[in-house]
Symmetry: C2
């Protein structure tokens, strides 16, 4: 599959490298084509990996991962929708793996107030791309665990939500290819309020466990 | 031990009945002494169970459980601190099992905005009772699971936080007597921001599992 990745940070690189290793054609997008991190990644990730602008990556991918810092997600997507054009992103799957954290504050980061409790970043992403199919996934685990669930001991759980069942099925196929069992499907995109709300305890558990390689498992 | 319970709802009754069955002297407090729910509970729970006002229960207990609806916790505690007197609650352990939910809204309830993200109910409880030892615990599980961890299949995790290590140890002893293994101690009371933030996903998982008898287990 052709896959776009928005963001050249640790999350984008982790996802991009894994997806390229699975045989996908991956284009990593950043603010400027030729960005050092994106170019270095494309060189290392091999023949089917490439880089360009956010718009290039969004145009390229049949599925596009949003792997950006929470505070820049919405400005980037709004600019993107304009520059790529609404037609080209219509019906396209955007997988939002980001969290609405205010990283200008000390750890544990609080949420950006307008994107928590009675709202979520996932919902605002869907509003910014109203004709695209937004799926919230993978935002509750560290980026190394995202693509390698065996970094935590024993089965653990992912959560997924989004308005389109078909888009969620396609994302679940990708998660399975990473080694995950089927995630818990919470329903429509408003349920991003639930999964993004795991961040406050996630960050505290990161301090407690002294490693980001942990996850939640639901038992009943 | 002499234990006070603030609240005669499902949570207060579940905790009170278990604590009485373990041999503790339990006094359940409500807005008015002789409250029907409190009186019926005290009659059923046996010889060492009694009821009275919030102030009676807080005065009685060496350890006092706050089992009230999130929106009434702070008004009740502020009135209590005045009526019982600061001296009598000084050094007393208050176990806050409540969550700052806005139950006037439809399910899944949002948080009361002033008590989430950069604040928490646990912290405000500590401010309302500045000379008492507030421990946040048990607020991440259903009230039947609180006193019977075997209702979920296999070991699962509780979280605890509070400013006083000795108070936390005494609460852990009570949790052990309910059948829990040692909870994850996240540190001081500001970590209530983490544990209270499990509510948005907890309520959605309640819908998903179609039972409140589930819990989180941490794996690493």
């Amino acid at each position: 599959m052709k896959i776009g990745i928005l963001g050249t940070g640790a999350v984008g690189k982790s996802l991009g490298t894994k997806l390229a290793s699975l045989g996908h054609e991956v284009k990593m997008g950043s603010r400027e084509a030729g960005n050092a991190a994106g170019a270095a990644w494309a060189k290392n990730a091999g023949g089917k990996a490439s880089e360009g602008t956010f718009a290039d990556a969004a145009d390229f991918g049949e599925m596009v991962f949003i792997a950006l810092r929470g505070d820049v997600v919405l400005p980037v997507l709004k600019a993107l929708a304009k520059s790529v054009g609404a037609k080209k992103v219509k019906g396209k799957i955007f997988v939002d793996v980001s969290n609405p954290l205010d990283v200008s504050k000390p750890l544990p980061f609080p949420a950006l107030p307008e994107l928590t409790n009675t709202n979520s970043l996932g919902e605002e992403v869907q509003k910014a791309l109203p004709d695209s199919l937004v799926v919230k996934a993978l935002n509750t685990v560290n980026c190394e665990v995202m693509v390698n669930p065996s970094l935590v001991n024993g089965d653990s759980d992912l959560f997924i939500c989004g308005n389109d069942a078909g888009a969620k099925r396609k994302v679940v196929d990708v998660l399975r290819s990473f080694g995950w069992t089927d995630p818990i499907d919470l329903g429509d995109i408003t349920n991003a309020r639930g999964t993004e709300s795991l961040m406050p305890i996630w960050m505290r558990l990161w301090g407690y466990f002294k490693t980001p390689h942990f996850n939640f498992k639901m038992v009943k």
